[in-house]
């Protein structure tokens, strides 16, 4: 479903702030894979997400989604294949537009936008039903501006938006990091529900080691712009935080340095 071949990305080339953020990274995801991504600060997790989403182009290497080479495809065209939820709850929605209007925008992802009406009555009914599955009472606030919603509610709506048009790959970039623990757990539960319902191929960055271990069928750990650990199947099921940390120290010869990940143990 996704094939990443040997990608490189360096920021601030030629300055003292030069930073090689992706260092020959390769990754293959099979259909239905739910991969959690973990790594220290500056390991290149978000950079990987942005490379896949097309926020900028990679310096070298190729990105192939469902057999289509998207390496030089601009972000808005690539959006056809991708569902995205960001760390910042304000990033994924248009705050001055209604919940229904936001969903309608997402419903047309990857399709031409012409002079047909932007949102139909039938659509609104459909959105009401879908919103009720979130169990947040949003189905009664269909035309409320998204800017009035809480962070957790916005992330839930963004998740729904990302899955309205079944994406080839769902990209979740620490989408629960900005939420309080209780809300984060609820959003993560919704995430699992949506992923298993449509059997979505998913890449989820998380700052929480427990979440990384408890969710998905595969776990990758990044360090210095590359993948240092790739754990799947039975081994993933039996994984604990302690063995994960030990493995990390073995392969990277350094200690794990993501404070928030360690503090949340």
């Amino acid at each position: 479903m996704l094939e990443v071949k040997n990608i490189y990305k360096t920021f601030n080339v030629g300055t003292i702030n030069e930073k090689r953020a992706l260092n020959g990274l390769s990754l293959t995801l099979n259909e239905g894979d739910f991969v959690t991504v973990i790594g220290g600060n500056g390991a290149g997790k978000s950079t990987l997400m942005n490379a896949l989403a097309g926020t900028w182009f990679v310096d070298e290497g190729n990105i192939i989604i469902d057999g289509i080479d998207v390496t030089k495809m601009p972000e808005f065209k690539r959006a056809k294949f991708l569902g995205r939820v960001f760390q910042d709850p304000t990033m994924g929605t248009a705050p001055t537009m209604g919940i229904d209007e936001n969903l309608a925008l997402a419903m047309r992802r990857g399709k031409g936008r012409g002079l047909k009406i932007g949102i139909t009555k039938a659509e609104r009914e459909k959105y009401k039903k879908l919103l009720s599955t979130l169990e947040l009472g949003l189905e009664d606030r269909l035309t409320s501006k998204v800017g009035l919603l809480s962070g957790g509610q916005r992330q839930a709506v963004t998740l729904l938006m990302a899955s309205l048009q079944k994406p080839k790959i769902l990209l979740l970039d620490e989408h629960t990091a900005a939420l309080d623990p209780k809300t984060a757990a609820k959003v993560l539960e919704t995430t699992n529900k949506i992923i298993s319902k449509d059997n979505l191929t998913t890449l989820m960055i998380t700052h929480n080691m427990k979440d990384a271990i408890a969710n998905g069928n595969r776990l990758i750990m990044m360090n210095n712009g590359n993948i240092v650990l790739d754990i799947k199947g039975e081994e993933k099921k039996n994984l604990t935080v302690e063995t994960l940390l030990k493995k990390f120290e073995e392969v990277s010869k350094e200690t794990f340095d993501n404070d928030s990940a360690l503090l949340s143990l």
Partner: protein, 308 residues
């Protein structure tokens, strides 16, 4: 200071305000919907009139001249959009560049710095003379109202379409828009084109109204446009929530601006100071939301509600 002299001036002020209301709606599209401060309008507020007047003088139909003015405005908007999106120039600077370039273009269109048109010789749509003692359907206020209604109706429809919704989203959150597959660059250019088209249309009508086109008639137009947007917002925000009514409030803002202007002139203020006064008022009103945010915001509560 006879009140009669003020009262007799008010209908003219209302007609002017309605024409500038069309211009202000154009500014609203860029400034409020697209979140771009577009200074091209100071140039297009002359271009439209120049095109329209010169075409009418050469014998073209008045409606054809209005259409040509609209298209000329759209081209100007396209240039600004191109400078901004394709050449990566900040929007405000891109607008200033087009505005400067338009000065030469406008001079070339008119051929000199101003050109009069006599309402007695041509069947103009609006004019200073068509304020009183004419049948209502020839009255410039009536024509102005009709134009405003038609424009609001078309824009209300357009911004409800898939394309219009994506344009609103572009101004609201460009990151999210791209993630939803919206070509934000295309939408920014399109928005600038529609906006400048409307401004040029207003310019064409205003030139007919005053009976001449002048190379300097667009100077400071952006400030009048912004003032109208702000007046409309401050006065009608609480009661006008619907999009069509929001646009109407902008047009009413322009009418109020011109009526207040007329009153200020009637009181006897030195007219040389008018632009200074306009700039001051706009500056203060632009500062209000900033001050509100900085000094009067309630502390933000972390975390969601119980439903989150």
């Amino acid at each position: 200071m006879y009140i009669e002299s003020l009262l007799s001036a008010l209908p003219g002020a209302a007609a002017q305000g309605l024409i500038w209301g069309i211009m202000a709606i154009g500014v609203y599209i860029t400034y409020k919907i697209l979140d771009v401060a577009d200074l091209t309008v100071d140039g297009t507020m002359c271009t439209g009139g120049a095109v329209s007047i010169m075409m009418i003088l050469s014998g073209y139909n008045i409606w054809v001249s209005l259409l040509a003015a609209f298209i000329a405005g759209m081209i100007a908007g396209f240039v600004t959009g191109f400078l901004h999106t394709f050449m990566g120039i900040p929007a405000i600077l891109a607008g200033i560049l087009s505005q400067l370039a338009l000065y030469s273009v406008n001079l070339k269109i008119i051929g000199k710095s101003n050109q009069a048109i006599n309402v007695n010789n041509f069947d103009l749509l609006v004019s200073l003379r068509y304020i009183s003692d004419v049948p209502f359907y020839k009255n410039s206020i009536f024509i102005g109202v009709m134009f405003i209604i038609a424009i609001i109706a078309i824009l209300y429809w357009f911004f409800g379409t898939e394309l219009g919704c994506s344009l609103r989203a572009t101004g609201c959150n460009p990151n999210m828009s791209r993630a939803q597959g919206i070509n934000t660059n295309f939408n920014v250019v399109l928005g600038l084109m529609i906006s400048n088209g409307l401004v040029a249309l207003a310019s064409a009508l205003y030139s007919q109204y005053q009976g001449f086109t002048d190379i300097n008639m667009g100077r400071g137009a952006i400030v009048i446009g912004l003032a109208s947007v702000i007046i409309g917002k401050v006065l009608f925000e609480k009661i006008f929530r619907n999009f069509a009514l929001r646009l109407l409030s902008v047009a009413l803002g322009a009418v109020i601006y011109y009526i207040v202007l007329q009153i200020v002139i009637w009181i006897g203020l030195d007219t040389d100071l008018l632009k200074l006064l306009s700039a001051l008022i706009v500056a203060v009103f632009l500062a209000v939301p900033y001050w509100k945010k900085k000094y009067f915001t309630k502390p933000f509560k972390q975390g969601g509600s119980k439903n989150a």
